[in-house]
């Protein structure tokens, strides 16, 4: 039985047990999604968008569905979860192997107009709201992994913000994978609907916890073997007029895990979407980000950092479709590649004829630290309007030997000089994180990973904090 057949059998066996299996609209969504997957199968290297990312090993692994995974004693997790706190005022939703655990989460009363709930709970409490949006902007026809997620999704996040509602505290979705005897797959689903004029901050955070790979001081992945699992996650974001979402994603899974993620965003008039995506862990990390600018004056900004070493493989595929006039899209992705790691970036921008006065900027910069690493970067612009400003660029470079010399000429050791230059390469993106606590947490994760990449002793590399306010803070 091949992987495709195995999944079809799994679906047939489990469909009566999925959350919301009594909801006809949901059942038909699942059925149609699995049919879409069956028709496509897994992507092959002949598919243009999977040319550089091979899913063969993923297909060869017999993943079982998450419910069978062993959940370690909850008590032993509580302290470790506390260490993952980003901001004291956050709404923290904790998911163990894809399933929401309220007893591990930390939620405070919600402001009027906000619904924040686990996905499974929301299917019971708010089926009508979900039926009107769930799956509407997800591409099942050309994204087989998204189709699989829609077929198998069982838990995740439902966030609904009514018009003009306000919530200052960030929402932190912490997805924890734990040790298991067998490889496990889970399918988190996040559905986010912000109605007109609502600002919000959301963090998707993926980590591993297990007796062997957990590092109490540091949240980043370790070089030790971790859990074998596959996360196939889909995030759907609907932004009403003048809605504003700051979306963060911090992926720090163990080096045996595979992470397949898709994010679909639809933006109405004058809405703003900012993505900060940090891909540090996992053997394979694939992120598809598809954004539709359907209302005029909508703006999206995509910031991405990937830091890979060893045999890691990271792949960002972005697609921004300008459908209305006066919209802007800005993309800046920076990657550092060490060892035999490989990075793929494909940035597609499509400007439709009615999208006059579009402004689309795209830049992908890569720093290659080894001779055996590889980068495949490709910008793709399709422009059907005549009054637009579009720029794109892609670079692959090495550490500047002149800069290395300059730093060393002041007494800085070679490994410190390397670490600082690499940090300098990505720090521009860290500075774009407005929330100082969030920035600090992500900086710690980034510097820990950078130290590993340059082979530096972590203790010798000062953690840097922004100095724009004249503050000077080194560990």
């Amino acid at each position: 039985m091949n992987a495709r057949e195995r999944l079809l059998t799994d679906f047939a066996r489990s469909k009566a047990y999925f959350p919301g299996h009594l909801l006809p609209w949901l059942t038909s969504l699942r059925e149609s999604a699995i049919e879409n997957f069956a028709a496509q199968g897994f992507p092959s290297p002949n598919d243009e968008s999977w040319k550089y990312t091979n899913t063969k090993k993923l297909q060869q692994t017999e993943y079982c569905i998450a419910q069978q995974a062993v959940i370690p004693p909850i008590d032993s997790l509580a302290a470790q979860i506390k260490a993952q706190q980003l901001c004291p005022d956050e709404q923290r939703m904790v998911f163990i192997n894809g399933i929401y655990h309220p007893e591990l989460s930390s939620m405070s009363p919600l402001p009027k107009g906000i619904i924040l709930s686990s996905f499974a709970q929301a299917l019971q409490d708010h089926p009508k709201l979900m039926a009107s949006t769930l799956g509407k902007i997800v591409n099942h026809q050309a994204q087989p992994f998204s189709a699989l997620n829609s077929a198998f999704m069982s838990d995740g996040l439902f966030l609904w913000a009514a018009e003009n509602s306000q919530m200052a505290s960030p929402i932190h979705c912490l997805f924890i994978s734990t040790t298991s005897a067998k490889p496990v797959v889970f399918y988190p689903r996040l559905l986010i609907v912000l109605k007109n004029n609502t600002p919000l901050t959301l963090i998707e955070h993926y980590i591993d916890l297990s007796a062997t790979s957990f590092d109490p001081d540091m949240t980043a992945t370790k070089q030790t073997a971790g859990n074998h699992h596959l996360i196939n996650t889909v995030t759907e974001i609907h932004l009403g007029s003048e809605a504003h979402l700051d979306h963060y994603k911090l992926q720090q899974e163990s080096l045996n895990s595979r992470h397949i993620a898709a994010m679909y965003v639809q933006q109405h008039r004058a809405s703003q979407f900012t993505s900060h995506s940090y891909s540090l862990g996992a053997a394979l990390a694939r992120c598809d980000i598809q954004i539709q600018l359907t209302g005029s004056q909508a703006e999206c900004t995509l910031n991405g950092v990937y830091l890979v070493d060893g045999q890691q493989h990271v792949d960002y595929h972005t697609q921004i479709t300008h459908l209305a006039p006066d919209c802007s899209s800005q993309q800046l992705y920076k990657g550092v590649i060490q060892g035999h790691a490989r990075a793929v970036f494909n940035g597609k921008v499509i400007i439709h004829p009615e999208a006059q006065q579009s402004n689309a900027q795209q830049l992908n910069k890569n720093l290659l630290l080894s001779d055996s690493g590889e980068v495949d970067t490709k910008p793709e612009l399709q422009i059907y309007a005549d009054d637009v400003i579009c720029n794109h660029g892609a670079t692959v470079g090495q550490l500047d030997t002149q800069a290395l010399f300059y730093l060393q000429s002041r007494g800085v050791s070679q490994s410190d000089a390397q670490a600082w230059l690499v940090y300098g390469f990505v720090s521009e993106l860290l500075e774009r994180i407005n929330n100082p606590l969030l920035r600090k947490f992500i900086q710690l994760s980034v510097t820990a990973q950078l130290n590993r990449l340059v082979g530096n002793d972590a203790c010798d590399f000062p953690v840097l904090f922004p100095t724009q306010n004249g503050e000077l803070s080194c560990r």
Partner: protein
């Protein structure tokens, strides 16, 4: 303090230094002048250990040790400082944090305790005033978007913070207006005559112009030509040069 014997060096196969000899004692100020292409900056870069330059013969003894056997960072830690002619811009690396890293790297090398953030800031702020630099520049990336004069002041700031035993200033005066030049010269003089320094400091000024030497009086002036020092003398040599150019001073048939 510094003894350079028969130094030969090349870059990309081109021999630039062809048997250079120079001796600098503690407390002395040496000026090196010479036409473009004579090897002045090459000398500075070779002493600092720039990887583009290869030493093909000769030796450099600094404070009794074989300088050429040291790594770039070790040379700095041993007390050698070069203020570069064209200081590099390094985006994304904070100027002040780099300074702190450099100072503490050197202190660690010398087995001194590292300075904490507060003590360091106090030190660096007092030095910033000495060179007349805008404090705001501390919090920018290293030299990024600095004017030519600001870059040169930043080099001098690094020198004052790092307190080397021997400083080589490679055309630090070029690109400075007269007020900036005075300030920088004041800073350099303060550095030379620092009563807290354990040993008198040495200074090598690489320059094209007498102007700088009005403010920092050299003990010796050397003329470098075609990779060798062809003439040495006192301050009067620089004055003669300013008046008559190199033609009269160089060996016959060379200019």
């Amino acid at each position: 303090m510094l003894n350079i014997n028969n130094l030969h060096a090349e870059i990309q196969g081109n021999t630039i230094l062809k048997g250079l000899n120079l001796s600098v004692k503690a407390g002395e100020v040496h000026a090196i002048m010479g036409p473009n292409g004579s090897g002045k900056s090459t000398l500075a870069n070779v002493l600092a250990g720039h990887p583009d330059y290869q030493v093909t013969a000769g030796e450099v003894i600094f404070q009794g040790a074989d300088l050429l056997g040291f790594s770039v960072a070790q040379r700095a830690c041993a007390g050698l400082f070069v203020a570069f002619q064209y200081p590099l811009e390094i985006p994304g690396v904070s100027n002040v944090q780099f300074l702190k890293l450099a100072l503490n790297s050197q202190r660690k090398y010398r087995q001194l305790s590292e300075l904490d953030a507060l003590d360091f800031l106090q030190l660096v702020k007092s030095k910033v005033q000495e060179v007349g630099m805008e404090e705001e520049l501390l919090y920018r990336s290293i030299n990024e978007g600095f004017s030519g004069g600001e870059k040169k002041r930043n080099e001098i700031l690094q020198m004052l913070v790092l307190e080397p035993q021997l400083a080589i200033l490679d055309e630090t005066d070029s690109g400075l207006d007269i007020d900036a030049l005075k300030l920088v010269a004041q800073g350099v003089n303060a550095f030379r005559c620092d009563p807290n320094a354990g040993q008198e400091r040495g200074l090598i000024l690489i320059t094209h112009y007498q102007r700088l030497l009005n403010f920092i009086n050299p003990d010796f002036v050397h003329i470098l030509f075609d990779g060798r020092i062809v003439k040495s003398g006192g301050p009067e040599l620089a004055l003669a040069l300013e008046k008559n150019g190199y033609a009269d001073l160089l060996p016959k048939g060379l200019s």
